[in-house]
């Protein structure tokens, strides 16, 4: 016991995780400058405009990360219901004057709230909130409860409501999917065998496939609206080259033209106004164009390393709430990276989704770094003397 106490006093710091995140941020900054300098110099005369904004966000984000690292994560458990409540309130705020006056929306969508001169995406707050809420609730439940319909409903219910709110209030499908995906993954991870979750997955898959088939065959096109056209553009981007297929087609051009080692850093031609949102959602396409297949795969490899590191922390974390928090962050990053690369390569229909740590976007970077801070705090409590790996030992103690 004495041994354990001394170990606890000496906190663990995960330098590997920090290094990977800093590397991704730095690489992201370089790519943001590369992709945005032309557009920035044309529109504002300052080719560093996007770079500077992103650098500011990163500095703020690193500070937030430090705070989150120092803040004991166990307290989140107590506040979890309030955090969820707050996220229910904050999403509709985009409709109030806080979301900007009529006609002052950015890119025509109401996705931001403006507070003290900052613009924040509520969707990013909701992502953290759902991680904390789901982790807290699941860690309180017994295994039986988690696998029950009631337990499933308590997790997926709020997530479903948030999904609908994000979809209909902010018209932000991708964030809605991420939020629901996080809750779903946490539920599945925390339960040994949740029949309801599996049924839901199968149901969604069947509806999805049927929907795509119907849209492709042109059945009930009036119901689908512009999302229907998005599916059609996905199936045949060349046919919709002037409309919905334009962005993804340009993205494919970028990737295809890069070759194995790319055109060289800064030498993308697609970023000169051809590929919309080159510094945001489509930054991976420009990475592939400039750094080639090699660069693209290297970025994917860095994310694999990051996820592996998170998995490792879970591996050594003995506290259920802590490991579920890390799992939530894992789910968030994994879903976002997979969806982003899938969109850019036209593997799934186009939906605006950014690449974590690399894409331009203040809210996203700040809240992701906050999540990393929480992960670091969880990791700092790792007790290497009694890792849960040593299953045999635990069993022994239990049978004692």
């Amino acid at each position: 016991m004495e041994n354990t106490a001394t170990l606890k006093r000496k906190k663990y710091f995960d330098f590997t995780l920090l290094f990977i995140v800093l590397f991704l941020l730095g690489f992201g900054l370089v790519m943001v400058y590369s992709t945005s300098s032309y557009v920035a110099s044309v529109s504002s005369g300052d080719d560093f405009a996007f770079f500077k904004a992103q650098l500011r966000s990163i500095i703020v984000g690193l500070f937030v990360m430090l705070l989150a690292y120092l803040f004991p994560y166990k307290y989140y458990k107590k506040f979890a219901p309030f955090i969820l409540l707050a996220s229910f309130i904050i999403v509709p705020l985009v409709l109030t004057p806080l979301g900007g006056a009529e006609g002052e929306t950015i890119n025509g969508a109401r996705r931001w709230i403006f507070l003290f001169g900052f613009s924040i995406q509520p969707a990013e707050i909701v992502k953290i909130a759902i991680i904390i809420y789901s982790a807290a609730l699941l860690s309180k439940m017994t295994m039986k409860e988690r696998q029950s319909l009631r337990g499933t409903a308590f997790i997926l219910g709020p997530a479903g409501i948030l999904f609908l709110m994000l979809l209909f209030i902010t018209t932000n499908l991708s964030s809605a999917i991420i939020v629901f995906g996080i809750a779903y993954v946490l539920l599945v991870i925390a339960s040994k065998k949740n029949i309801y979750a599996y049924m839901l997955l199968i149901g969604v898959a069947i509806v999805g496939v049927l929907g795509v088939i119907m849209i492709a065959k042109g059945i009930g096109s009036s119901i689908w609206g512009f999302r229907g056209e998005r599916i059609l553009a996905w199936l045949n981007p060349e046919a919709y080259a002037d409309g919905k297929g334009f962005q993804v087609l340009q993205s494919l051009y970028s990737i295809g033209s890069g070759g194995i080692f790319g055109k060289g850093l800064g030498k993308s031609m697609q970023k000169l106004g051809f590929l919309p949102y080159a510094q945001n959602d489509m930054i991976f396409a420009i990475i592939c164009e400039e750094l080639g297949l090699f660069g693209g795969l290297a970025v994917i490899f860095m994310f694999v390393l990051l996820l592996f590191r998170l998995r490792d922390i879970v591996y050594y974390t003995t506290d259920l709430f802590g490991s579920l928090l890390v799992c939530g962050v894992f789910a968030h990053i994994a879903i976002q990276v997979v969806l982003n690369v899938a969109v850019v390569t036209n593997t799934i229909p186009n939906t605006g989704i950014s690449l974590p740590f690399i894409s331009y976007g203040g809210s996203s970077v700040i809240f992701l770094l906050a999540e990393i801070g929480i992960v670091m705090n969880v990791a700092s409590n790792i007790d290497f003397a009694t890792p849960n790996v040593n299953y045999q030992e635990t069993i022994d103690e239990e049978t004692e």
Binding site: Y38, S43, I189, L252, T318, A334, T347, E397
Partner: protein
């Protein structure tokens, strides 16, 4: 208690273990997804590398901006501009930028002030623009107005240009006006409107042109468009490179617009004087006139009527009623009407030359030695050839004529005798020497080929030879006739006719000087002198007496040729003349196609026009008078001057440069014509 706590902890711990294991499974799934996406990346790169590279490059090229080259000017020999390219601008509104400006400012002043300024300067409908802004807020290219002038643009730019002097109150500057730019292009402009329209031709946009100089010299006039494009520099910055446009070359023509104006005036006068005389329509189907420098082949004027405004070539309302135009549109003959109007009568229409051929026939005889020059012929009004009685135009007979008399009286019988002496072989040889059946290679588009409408050994029989001697049975163009006649009277030198003297760069340095080019000597100096003598007699004692301008001795030859089909009284009458008589400086050739009179067989319609033209042109060219003026002459000249003066004073703006304003003067003179 401790045990309970421990148990609890263990439960949690074992659950954490479950989480850890299941996360491992999720991690594997994610890994699989990454492997799948990587495979897709590899596939995209491998399958489409070259293809997509080309696509990207082609998009880039599409994005680059063309800088329009300015089409070269065409000026006359004195520097008067015949054709030029005026800058014109399209007003473009960048809606996206406009809204971005408003967003940054936090108000809508930018949009409001910009729209107000646009309305103020260009008088555009702001509601339409507002609607466009609302519908397409991301558009960066909206054409507010097309083709505004430089002055209008400058007026708008006063809104956006900051005055140097801050206290300057007399300024329109408004910092809220933004996001408007101007796209420059060129519009072809012909300041002389109808002047030499057939000869100049027209260009509706740079690169394509129809008829005349514009088409013939299109490649030189067009220039090379420049290009502005962006590329990535070493510092991964966007760099703009501009390849400037090379403006087209400038043509200095041999045309003298003053002479052209005089010619046009008299042609038009004739057309209106005989308008609706015996049939509906102008004084003739067509009337054309070429004035050529006898010693260089330079064209000083090449005019015909009906004409058209080069600035609006498709406007034919002057000649056709709206109904007629609609009918033509329906039955597809509108194109034919345009062709008829736009083509150059002087080089594209063929006709039988008639008696103007006679000096050529005489020259053949003199050159080949088949005629000595001292022959005499008896004309009884007709000659029987091959069983046909071929009449002289004077059926009573001209009596005994020497060669000079035969030409002066335009006796067909005498010429038929001569053609017998010359023979078919010589005739065919000299037909080619005088370039009949061949193009003159004048530097204008559309000169007609005449090789199939002249004689060859199979078609030139006894009768044909006889009639060919006075210019019937074969066809020529005006330019062939005048070029050949110039050679006959200038000492025998056949100059290639040309309209362009010099080709200059847009900056004015000489690219090419076009020197007069002697193609061949068609007759000897002595023959030429004799022909001059005979032709001078035409004016002094023969059929061309009406053409003589006061104070000048000129020579020439009349022509009347019955059109095909024969016998319906339709004639092409013409007069070819050289001035001064002994040392020709210019040749003037007037052709009237089917004059609107009861008896068309009279060359006076051409000789009178020639007289009018020569009376104006010779003094203008500073050719000294050689003859004494009779009292009649002086009276006529004074009256003429008076009519010009009254015309001038009648004008609303007497200071206006009347030489430049061709149409105005023509109309005035036409109205007050009391000849």
């Amino acid at each position: 208690m401790a045990k309970e706590k421990r148990r609890r902890k263990l439960t949690v711990r074992s659950q954490a273990k479950i989480v850890s294991n299941r996360l491992g499974v999720v991690f594997l799934i994610v890994l699989l997804a990454f492997v799948g996406l990587s495979a897709r990346l590899i596939y995209i790169t491998k399958e489409n590398n070259n293809d997509y590279q080309h696509k990207i490059l082609s998009q880039q090229a599409y994005d680059s901006q063309v800088i329009n080259a300015k089409r070269g000017e065409i000026i006359d020999r004195n520097g008067t501009v015949l054709a030029t390219s005026k800058e014109s601008y399209n007003v473009i509104l960048d809606v996206k930028n406009l809204l971005l400006h408003d967003e940054n400012e936090g108000n809508t002043d930018g949009t409001e002030h910009t729209l107000a300024a646009l309305k103020n300067v260009f008088g555009v409908d702001t509601e339409k623009i507002r609607e466009y802004i609302k519908d397409t807020p991301k558009s960066q290219y909206y054409q507010v107005k097309k083709g505004v002038s430089f002055e209008e643009m400058s007026r708008f730019l006063m809104y956006t240009t900051k005055p140097e002097n801050e206290e300057d109150n007399d300024t329109l500057y408004d910092k809220n006006v933004n996001s408007v730019w101007f796209e420059k292009y060129y519009v072809r402009f012909y300041p002389q409107n109808t002047l030499a329209c057939d000869t100049i031709g027209f260009s509706l946009n740079n690169g394509t042109a129809s008829y005349g100089l514009e088409e013939y010299y299109n490649d030189l006039l067009t220039g090379v468009n420049g290009r502005k494009y962006g590329f990535l520099g070493d510092n991964s910055t966007q760099e703009i490179t501009t390849i400037p446009a090379t403006d087209g070359y400038k043509l200095v023509t041999t045309i003298d617009s003053n002479i052209s104006l005089m010619v046009k005036k008299h042609l038009k006068d004739f057309m209106f004087e005989y308008k609706d005389n015996v049939r509906e329509g102008f004084g003739a189907n067509n009337v054309g006139c070429i004035i050529m420098n006898a010693k260089t082949g330079e064209i000083l004027a090449m005019e015909s009527y009906p004409d058209f405004d080069l600035n609006d070539p498709t406007d034919i309302s002057e000649y056709y009623s709206e109904e007629e135009i609609n009918t033509m549109k329906d039955d597809g003959t509108l194109k034919d009407a345009y062709d008829a109007l736009w083509k150059n009568f002087c080089i594209q229409d063929t006709y039988e030359p008639g008696s103007v051929m006679k000096p050529f026939t005489v020259a053949m005889g003199l050159e080949t030695g088949t005629i000595k020059g001292n022959e005499g012929y008896q004309c009884n009004g007709y000659l029987t050839i091959g069983g046909h009685e071929i009449y002289c135009h004077n059926r009573a007979g001209d009596g005994w004529l020497d060669i000079k008399g035969a030409v002066a009286q335009s006796c067909n019988v005498a010429l038929m005798y001569m053609s017998r002496q010359i023979g078919a072989e010589n005739f065919l040889k000299y037909q080619e020497v005088f370039n009949f059946g061949l193009r003159t290679n004048i530097d204008l588009t559309g000169e007609t080929r005449t090789d199939s409408v002249v004689f060859n050994e199979n078609t030139l029989h006894e009768t044909e030879l006889a009639t060919a001697s006075f210019g019937q049975g074969f066809n020529v163009t005006m330019i062939q006739m005048i070029t050949g006649y110039a050679a006959l009277v200038n000492g025998g030198y056949y100059y290639e006719p040309h309209v362009v003297n010099r080709i200059l760069t847009s900056g004015g340095s000489v690219v090419k000087n076009i020197e007069p080019r002697v193609v061949k000597q068609v007759v000897s100096e002595t023959t030429s002198a004799k022909i001059r003598e005979y032709c001078n007699a035409v004016v002094t004692e023969g059929t061309g007496w009406r053409a003589k301008p006061a104070g000048y001795a000129v020579g020439g030859k009349t022509g009347t040729a019955e059109t095909v089909p024969r016998g319906n009284g339709e004639y092409v009458v013409s007069f070819m003349c050289h001035a001064p008589a002994d040392d020709p400086e210019i040749i003037c050739y007037v052709v009237v196609d089917r004059p609107n009179v009861a008896v068309q067989e009279d060359a006076k319609y051409a000789t009178i026009i020639s007289h009018e033209i020569l009376t104006d042109v010779l003094p203008y060219l500073n050719i000294p008078m050689t003859e004494d003026l009779t009292e009649q002459d002086i009276a006529a000249l004074e009256e003429r001057e008076l009519s010009i003066l009254t015309n001038r004073t009648e004008k609303e703006d007497p200071d206006a440069d009347s030489e430049e304003n061709g149409e105005g003067e023509n109309e005035n003179n036409g109205d007050s014509n009391n000849d």
